[in-house]
Symmetry: C2
Subunit: 109 residues, 2 copies
DNA sequence: ATCTGGTGCAACCGGTTGGTTGCACCATGT
DNA sequence: ACATGGTGCAACCAACCGGTTGCACCAGAT
């Protein structure tokens, strides 16, 4: 149970929710926004958005900073790399296996 | 609404669970296995594994086929590409935004 | 015909999750 | 000083999730 694996799970489960994905998309274009701003464009309450931003924060995909009386959230896409890395690993293993199989077939023909 | 977005969510939430990730890893090395086999190597019951395999199947990450009286599961990693694609999009948008910002700063110095 | 091992189905359980509402708390502009 | 708009905190809810157990079912081997 690597802490790394924990992080990976947090990232994937953060990305699992459509609202959260929309929020990330929004923050990718807009660099920073408050929960209230984001909630205005979403069909759910501000509190719901806050919770979503919290889980995005736990996954390290977003960072919050106070500016005056408002709290602005910004995208920090680094953990996406970890996630992509894991998927690549699985894919690579799969390809290696395929290559081995192809090799055997080649040898046995 | 998009069936595509639905699929994306299914993939990410499939990858969100550590047991499911382990199963995928296993199937990447082993090409095919039954639920009972997989359950032997995991700390949970066969039924739990079956459920996991079902959600992996819904995400399109795994395919099942009957061989005699047993059901073998195999990895079908194609949907990983979709997931990686989405992440890449967010990352790319982010980069474009950074580039624009850099441009403005450059122009205004 | 019957024992056996792998599957499938269904009920059940505790914990998490996405969502809500209500209200108290601050920082700011007038 | 005070009204205001953005936050934070907490309780509550229905639905879902990961997991279990018990049992019926079905294909093969004896």
């Amino acid at each position: 149970m690597n802490m790394n694996d924990r992080r990976l799970g947090a990232v994937f489960s953060a990305l699992a929710d459509p609202t959260r994905r929309r929020l990330l998309g929004r923050l990718a274009e807009q660099q920073s926004a408050t929960a209230t701003e984001l909630a205005a464009a979403e069909p759910v309450s501000r509190q719901a958005i806050v919770k979503h931003l919290q889980s995005l924060d736990e996954a390290g995909l977003v960072a919050s900073s106070r500016a005056g009386r408002e709290v602005r959230y910004a995208l920090t896409p680094a953990p996406l790399e970890d996630a992509a890395g894991w998927m690549e690993t699985v894919g690579a293993e799969w390809d290696r296996r395929l290559a081995r199989l192809r090799g055997k077939l080649e040898a046995g023909k």
